[in-house]
């Protein structure tokens, strides 16, 4: 049948509608909110049961949390009497006056009160450094890296530890505590683990057997044992290994332990990145006559580190959570200050512990969730950048 015959047929037979009817609206039960609920929550009998069970569970958990943290909570008071069921004659939730009173202790530990401005300045300097590095359109980001990895550590040490010559009295590290110590331990771990981790990763992929052997030995050893044993080693064995006159203070021992541990994990993350770089990049660099150091510094590492940023941030999240373990070797980080405060007779009630833990949980949740959002955003940004 040719085209002309077909057209002829249509024009002669008029039972074919030549004008469109307006489309009928979809059934109300299939669209909008009702349709969405039917499709996503109530599609099959099993699904309905599941939805109801999970809904009840969710309501119960959220209600309990709300009840404890807000509705039943005690907001004012001077001591434990305020948070006791026997004096309040009702169910008692979180004991917030305990947190208000102990907040400075949770943040600064036993850092002398007249010197606490130094800690505040440190927090501000650190925040500036972090913002400088993370904000993509910040001016002079190269300078930011120099600031964060070189200037900041020196300035912070002088500021926090003290330097008698310029009029800052020395504050012994035993007095440090709370959020300050958590942040210091995490920051030192972050700042130290990246360079050492890169060196170890390069060492593990080196062609020199001795270098490869020692790097692999270190990485596998540290990754094979729990952090707590590394911390025990740092705290009880490190003083044995150095001459008596250099006995490191307790915080420094913990920092060494954390830094070594984080470096081994960082090394594996960086190594994964190095392995993802195609061989052609190495060969290209060699072909234009670059030696090992410039090849790594200019060609391989920038690409390898760029694709590993999400994994590096994930390692940092793990490190940030792991800083709590210094509690066990007697360093007063945030968790340890809460452990001390919750059994203080002035405030000890059945709800004090849970209140303290809730505060700590919120602190860690905010920081770690923030970091993981950053990692995910970076991952998305890099994926977009790789699409051509």
């Amino acid at each position: 049948m040719t085209m002309a015959e077909g057209e002829l047929a249509i024009s002669e037979l008029h039972f074919v509608r030549d004008q469109h009817l307006a489309a009928q609206p979809a059934p109300i039960r299939m669209t909008g909110a009702i349709g969405w609920v039917r499709a996503n929550l109530l599609s099959t009998p099993a699904n309905i049961v599941l939805t109801v069970v999970v809904l009840l569970l969710t309501i119960w958990v959220v209600w309990e949390l709300l009840d404890f943290l807000i509705l039943d909570a005690v907001w004012t008071g001077a001591d434990r009497e305020a948070c006791l069921m026997s004096t309040q004659h009702r169910e008692v939730g979180a004991c917030w006056p305990f947190v208000w009173e102990r907040l400075p202790y949770f943040i600064y530990g036993s850092y002398p009160i007249p010197e606490r401005w130094r800690v505040d300045v440190f927090f501000v300097l650190l925040a500036v450094g972090v913002a400088w590095l993370l904000w993509l359109h910040a001016p002079r980001r190269g300078l930011g890296a120099l600031y964060f990895f070189v200037v900041l550590p020196i300035v912070s040490y002088i500021l926090l530890h003290g330097f008698a010559a310029i009029g800052l009295p020395v504050v012994d590290t035993v007095l440090w505590g709370g959020v300050l110590v958590t942040i210091v331990v995490a920051t030192v771990g972050i700042v130290v683990s990246l360079p050492i981790g890169i060196l170890l990763a390069l060492g593990r992929r080196s062609h020199m057997p001795t270098v490869r052997f020692f790097s692999t030995l270190f990485i596998e050893f540290v990754r094979g044992v729990p952090l707590i044993t590394v911390l025990f080693m740092a705290s009880v064995m490190l003083p044995l290994f150095v001459p008596q006159e250099f006995e490191p203070d307790k915080l420094l021992r913990a920092l060494v332990g954390i830094a070594l541990f984080a470096s081994a994990y960082m090394a594996e993350v960086v190594r994964a990145g190095l392995q993802a770089i195609p061989k052609g990049q190495y060969e290209g660099a060699m072909a234009v006559g670059l030696g090992y150091t410039p090849m790594m510094r200019l060609i391989v590492l920038p690409q390898a580190l760029r694709i590993t940023i999400p994994n590096i941030v994930n390692t940092y999240i793990g490190l940030f959570k792991d800083t709590t373990l210094v509690t066990i070797i007697g360093i007063f980080d945030l968790l340890h200050t809460i452990e001390v405060a919750r059994i203080d007779p002035k405030w000890a009630t059945p709800v004090t512990s849970t209140t303290g833990y809730a505060v700590a949980a919120m602190f860690y949740l905010v920081f770690c969730y923030g970091m993981s959002r950053y990692a995910r955003a970076t991952e998305a940004r890099l994926r977009k950048g790789d699409k051509r």
Binding site: L41, T51, F232, Q244, I328, Y364, L365
Partner: protein, 397 residues
């Protein structure tokens, strides 16, 4: 034939210090020298310190009497006669017990949550991802302390224990259930149980061979349940229930008899399972998402229902992706069980690097033994997982 003869051009003369091979040897010698120097320095310093502090060295303490009590022990232990060596085995067994149970619980919960995150049910997937995001971002130590101090230690005291029929007690000292004690005649039940296991394994292999040859499937699950559970139960009834339960007796100051689950153990088990499950859920989700959508669609187009599709098509393929990261999560769980020290569960670290280290002062030996144990566990586990991984790996044509 050297390159000189082929090209007729002599290679440029390189000064010795620029020759890559010479350089490499120098670098390696330097590194080895530095490490030898550090190890030597550390050793001499340590010997010096230990001599000055009059601390013995060597492993002689292993056979000395320990003289402390351990709250939970799988093998007989008494503070007056048992040695540090026995304390070591008690700690190791406790670590392995909590790790093994934790792995089972975390795997079940992790798979449930991981699959729920991919559920088409919006509410279920949201709740599952809320669980993962919350649990992953709170330090394990904090969670353990919460379970221990916030939940289990906040239970009522002994006098006001929750109890069911004076047989099950729950208070802040632990959880007590009746202990089944076998009477003569119970041996038959045990015998039938063992026979049931052997028979069900044999049935499994027979069913698999038949399925390979004829394509017919046998109800393996039901037959196994029948052989392993129903049959011994029938024998138990036939033998006149030769078993009696010894209920825990609540006294004024403690509860005696029955099986006791100490709160330290329960807190550690909950904490580890819940924490690791969040990570396993992520591993499972990534594994299932790695199976191409076409596989499930092909199964649906063959008329296979969603349940069997997941069980027979998707999960077996996802397992290949899941197993390597899953095994590293298991290792993390085993290593994390060392946090027991914070809540006083007598695991290896708590007994050894805690009590034994304090009593003997022999830091080097004690820490070395503990680390060696964890290293061995890590190596053995990753070895087994690699073996399993090889069996599961894709066999290319």
């Amino acid at each position: 034939m050297s390159s000189e003869q082929v090209t007729g051009i002599r290679p440029p003369r390189v000064p010795l210090y620029n020759d890559p091979r010479v350089r490499s040897v120098i670098y390696q010698l330097a590194l080895a020298a530095i490490i030898v120097f550090l190890v030597y320095g550390a050793t001499t310093n340590a010997i010096d310190h230990l001599q000055r502090a009059h601390i013995a060295s060597g492993f002689g303490f292993w056979n000395e009497t320990a003289g402390f009590n351990i709250s939970q022990s799988l093998i007989p232990f008494s503070s007056t006669i048992s040695t540090y060596g026995t304390a070591f085995w008690v700690g190791l067994l406790n670590t392995l017990l909590v790790a093994a149970l934790g792995i089972v619980l975390a795997t079940i919960l992790g798979f449930l949550v991981g699959i729920s995150r991919l559920s088409k049910n919006w509410l279920v997937s949201r709740v599952a991802s809320g669980y993962v995001e919350t649990i992953r971002n709170i330090p394990l130590l904090l969670q353990l302390l919460f379970w221990y101090n916030g939940v289990l230690k906040a239970l009522p005291e002994l006098r006001n224990s929750y109890s069911i029929a004076d047989a099950i007690y729950l208070n802040n000292r632990g959880f007590y259930v009746p202990e089944p004690i076998a009477r003569p005649g119970f041996g038959w039940v045990e015998l039938v149980f063992v026979v049931g296991i052997v028979a069900s394994v044999a049935f499994y292999f027979w069913a698999r061979r038949r399925q390979m040859q004829t394509g017919q499937r046998a109800p393996v699950l039901w037959v196994t349940l029948g052989l392993v559970i129903a049959l011994p139960f029938i024998v138990l009834l036939l033998a006149g229930v030769p078993i009696h339960f010894e209920s825990p007796q609540a006294g004024r100051f403690n509860i005696s008899g029955g099986i006791e689950v100490v709160p330290e153990f329960a807190a550690l088990l909950f904490g580890l399972s819940i924490y690791t499950a969040a990570f396993i859920a992520e591993v499972v989700r990534a594994g299932i998402m790695a199976v191409s959508q076409g596989q499930a669609e092909a199964a649906y187009s063959l008329g296979i229902k969603p349940g069997p599709t997941l069980r027979l098509i998707v999960v077996p393929q996802a397992m290949r992706v899941i197993i390597p990261p899953l095994s590293s999560q298991y290792l993390n769980l085993i290593k994390n069980s060392s946090l027991a020290v914070a809540i006083g569960y007598p695991d290896l670290v708590q007994i050894f690097t805690g009590t034994v280290l304090n009593q003997t002062g022999q830091a080097v030996e004690v820490v070395a033994i503990t680390m060696a144990v964890y290293l061995t566990i890590s190596l053995v586990t990753s070895g087994l997982m690699n073996l399993y991984n090889q069996r599961m790996a894709l066999v290319e044509r």
